[in-house]
Amino acid sequence: MTPQSLELTGIGKGFGQTEVLRGIDLTVRPGEFLSLVGMSGCGKSTLLRIIAGLETPDRGTVSIGGADVTGADPSDRNLAMVFQSYALYPHMSVRENIATPLRMRRLSGWARLPLVGRMIAGRAALDDIDAAVEAAAGVLEIGALLERRPAELSGGQRQRVALARALVRDPAAFLMDEPLSNLDAKLRAHMRAELSALHRRLGATFVYVTHDQIEAMTMSDRIALMIEGRIEQLGTPDDLYRAPATLRVARFIGQPSINLLPVEIGPAGRLSLFGLEIGLAAALSGGAETTGPATLGLRPEDLHLRADGLPAKVLRVETHGADRYVSCVLPRAPELALTLRQSATDPLGADADGVLRLGFVAGRAHLFGADGQRRTLHVLERVAA
């Protein structure tokens, strides 16, 4: 099946008093790997279940490849879903598990009955299914496990069986609900690479739900970051990291988190930090609230040592192999913790009292207005940092 697009328009959903989704518009392109990312409770799983047809939206429409499927049964949408718990049928062998989606689609109700079904189904149909199962098992390298029961498999093996069961039906799109969260860290990293490879190999549309930004950043073509039932930003992983549209996106994406400093937008948009101009200016768009308090965001890797920079006292140093994360506080504002990322081979650069002097890469700073929206920054002529 050629990969299909998915379009969601104006999706709204509430459970009782709580609004879980507040108007979601989203188009997933054919063959795209799109991640829905957000904290638990942001509505990402509900949105996936609405696409799957397991929940009905209160408002809005879902279409697959241009056809409206809003009211259609899950089985009529030709989507495959991989669940967090893998949801394998416990009493069936791996072979039967993988064959089930095909048996349900290709065989009549009578032919699916135990024992007598074999006689009704016909040799050719059953052989086709067997061949498809073998092929799917081959792709995921689980050919040797076909006669086992799910209870006899490790977590990683169950994961592969769940993926094989999804891809055997050759669906319009794959939906994945936190499929890696039950695996240990090492296996998770391995499966990330395998999922990416599988996506490239199949060229299919993937919608992937996760709360883990690393999974989203490493595998996705695009990420939809969801906060409180809305899509806060939709873009490539680079977009979200390098140009977060709002303060909330900036806070969510990036590990360690972005450093946020309170700044003041003065006349002509000049920014000042603790009363000192820092060589940056906000673009003045002519709106009402163009000056006043704002937030400056600096990624840990965009901070560096600078002889005439701001003094900061080192609190803690964490070395992660090649990198080193230095947490420090500004004596001017002790409640603000900053994280600086250094190469572990560089000297720490602190003096005898444990004080560093920090500067930042002006061109990579992010400015957010009091409303949390991103604002354009200009780098001025060099002024003291």
Partner: protein, 273 residues
Amino acid sequence: MARLRHYLPHLVLALGAAAMLLPFYWMVLTSIRSPSEIFDVSLWPVPKTFSGGENYAQAASSVPMARFMLNGLIVCGGILAVQVLTSVPAAYALAKLRFPGRRIMLALVIAALCVPVQALALPLFVGLARAQLLNTYFAMMAPFFLSVFAIFLFHQSFRSYPDEIIEAARMDGFSEMEICWRLVLRGSLPSLAAFAVFSVVAHWNDLYWPMIVINKTELAPPPLGMLFFSDAETGANYGALMAGATIITAPIVLCFLLARRHFIAGITMTGVK
């Protein structure tokens, strides 16, 4: 002291088991004793004169014992089959589907557990009599076709079935009935075995309801048959009576032992996660 602590629970349990088993032991013992020995209080297992042959022969020949057993089989089998057919979908709907009024329905099921069958006996009897259905197998089975106990038991067991498997099945194209019977019930076989034992034992041993709706010997299930047997001229022959009781108890004990093996298999199966 430690040894005592180790064996004490076994001792207590053994005493309890002995108390439970004593009537059965006495029944079997009486069934092989001669009439002169019947009122002996001794529990010595070897009788002075072995009369088992005569007692069992008399029990088997003076009443149609095979017919009673067949009746019991038909009644218990029919009740169990319809109970499972009705209670499994009901329990599945209550446990796993969302629909308005679900909580109230569940509360009604639990409330219905509190109604004893005796309270309904009169209206049921009148209804069956009006419908000309007295002295039929149907009259013996019908009041038990809907078992709220079964609904409750299956509901408790189905509730723990993982929702994600049900959702995966919906996406794969299973109908709700297929999900209910082929997946969810399949995952609750130990409950089914447990319920089957409860149901079969209860209705095999039931004397009350058959006595109300049946007065023909050829329709009597085993306990009612025994009553006819003791009414007959053999009434005072306790040896033969106990032989008959042993014969009708044996299938239930066998049935329980078979299901017990199934219980253990079921429990170890679900234990492996």
